[in-house]
């Protein structure tokens, strides 16, 4: 009897230790996230001022602002989305609404997965070889935007597909039953219902694009360019590249540290906002669609 009791006790104790460990680890990971965020926020908050986000960099990027980098990143986000969003959404519609299960679908799925697994620096190489050199766009917003667009294409396709899948089949059947064609059903019934979730995916990919550095190193990014781009064939500064440069190879690394913290904070803010916005949208519309 006592042996059994001992065994049970042992069992309980090992469970307690293990569970305690797992719980602690999980909270440690979250704590790590907060440590990273808090570190950048506390160091960067003092740097951020109206001048910092609205002025040109000065004195070898040790003073002044990061306005051209912000504008450059916005241009890149816009250029990549104009290109990737329609293609990604149309591709996802085809995959989810049109094509039947079979080897073509399998191949497209596999290729999309493969593209998602390609390292970002390889996109940079590819963009440089095709857009900058072969098509002679030069280092430009166009070349960088296209490269980034290809990079997020799989992300957009995946999130759009998920959103379309979440639309109840009864909507489609009802629409077909009323004599609507496939495209009418897709464009007037399925797409509007899935739209909020699709936008969520779009916002998340904006966050992704604005933080990518490797693909723009050789396709668009300028080291120091205190003027704004005037056309899509111009070079531009960009936030992530700016952070990389002033953190590792600026004219005076110690002096530009403060600028680096500020830039990192702006980047983090962009990512946080896009994540929060996406989550809020998902929650808000998640409820609304269910009510229908």
């Amino acid at each position: 009897m006592s042996i059994e009791n001992n065994l049970a006790k042992k069992k309980r104790r090992s469970q307690k230790i293990a569970f305690g460990l797992f719980t602690a680890t999980s909270y440690a990971i979250v704590a790590l996230l907060f440590v990273i965020l808090a570190f950048i926020v506390t160091k960067g908050i003092g740097v951020i001022s109206w001048e910092f986000i609205s002025a040109m960099p000065k004195n070898g990027m040790t003073e002044g602002g990061i306005f051209p980098a912000i504008v450059g990143t916005l241009c890149l986000v816009l250029a990549s989305m104009v290109f990737a969003f329609p293609i990604g959404v149309l591709a996802a519609i085809y995959m989810n609404e049109y094509v039947k299960d079979g080897w073509p679908k399998k191949i497209i799925k596999q290729m999309t997965n493969n593209l998602a697994g390609v390292p970002s620096i390889v996109f940079g190489l590819f963009g440089m070889s095709l857009f900058v050199n072969k098509l002679e766009f030069g280092d430009s917003i166009l070349a960088g935007g296209l490269t980034l667009g290809l990079l997020v294409l799989p992300v957009i396709i995946r999130t759009t597909e998920e959103s379309l899948k979440a639309v109840d089949d009864t909507f489609r059947q009802a629409s077909f039953g009323l004599g609507a064609s496939k495209w009418e059903t897709t464009s007037k019934i399925v797409f509007p219902i899935a739209f909020p979730n699709i936008v969520t995916g779009l916002i998340l990919s904006v966050g992704r694009v604005s933080g990518e550095t490797a693909p723009i190193l050789f396709t668009v990014a300028a080291y120091f360019l205190p003027k704004l781009p005037t056309s899509i064939f111009d070079q531009a500064m960009a936030l992530p590249y700016h952070l990389y440069v002033i953190a590792t190879s600026g004219t005076d690394i110690e002096k530009s540290r403060a600028m680096a913290y500020g830039t990192a904070l702006i980047l983090i803010i962009i990512v946080l906002i896009s994540n929060l916005l996406a989550n809020a949208l998902r929650k808000y519309y998640g409820k609304k669609v269910k009510m229908n």
Partner: protein, 422 residues
Amino acid sequence: MGTHSACLPDVILLKIKNTLLKTNFKQIKEKVIESILMLSSAATSITVVLIVFFLFIEGAGVFTKKPIDKGFLLAVNESNPVGKLEPSQIKDIFDQKIINWSELGGKDEPIVLFRTGDITDYYTEEELGENFVNFPDKINELIAKTPGIIAFFSDKYVNKEFKGKEVDINKISVYKFLSGEEWFPTAEPVAQMGVKPLIYGTLWVSLGAILLALPIALAAAIYLSEIAKKRTRNLLKPLIELLAGIPSVVYGFFGLVVIVPLIQSVFNLPVGETALAGSVVLAIMALPTIITISEDAMRNTPRAMKEASLALGASHWQTIYKVVIPYSASGITAGAILGIGRAIGETMAVLMVTGNAAVIPHSFLAPIRTIPATIAAELGEAPNGGLHYEALFALGCILFIITFGINMLVELVTNRNSHKKH
């Protein structure tokens, strides 16, 4: 019947015609839209094919060219029997590690090095003439009279009476490229392109990252899927996923200002930029990937299995490690492999914290250099279409092949899992 229809009023006929046209038009529209959709869905496949095409076309160039700068040549005395050299041999010659031609299968003759700048050791400025007009003659003369010479100079100095013998330099073979232990892509007179240190560096950092991340990620996945209440889980999961959203350059910056100095002071090192720093940063970045995938796998464990185990008197913890973990093993493996894939391809963070020394790693506390970091650091300085540029594309090919293989492996592992379920 035919006569009857002919009697129909024209208005009705027109209406029928219009409806027919309309449906026809509608059908055409549907077809056009479908083909546009189909084309869009081909975009990713086309991109993958284009990436492969451009990467391999540019990368292949490194194996078809001689690894010497365009417009330069290496020449020896006419009587020298050595006519062909490996790039690594030439480097050893100019580093004075090989000092006699007999080591290269030639005559017993000490090697005399000659670079363009050395000309003033042999001739005075008057002899060379104004603007070095006599330079070609003098080089010719020097090579002709020095049996042990090996000269590296621009081919614009080669004139008609040139009596030296140009040395044939072996092209870099794929095998030499992969197994070479020295990466000096801009070395004079010939570039050394051995990617072994870079491949080793990449693998060290990535495997180190997974060793650090896997136990932590597994613990968190078990907690989230089995122990945490639904509300806690809904709170923690988005936060952990937020880790995946932080840009890699921010991780690199954080690593540079926090982790690197920390490692330097803890291990009392001269520099903190080490393989370990890279592994730590990559481990943090790989956490969300591994956690999400393993947690999904664990949550897929059939309820009946867990309940059967609990009913037999097993504790919750015993059920987890005897039932849940074995059941979700392939999902966990997929997560780990995918994590390695991410780590191998990661560029900016690694570039910023690993110190970038292209040597075969011997310790986690020494600087190393990875393939992606090499591409990012050097492509900006490599002239377009040159050998160095092509070598970096060849590195891109290696990276692409590795990550492609990893993707296939993940596919295989997860497919096996789904077969098991059926």
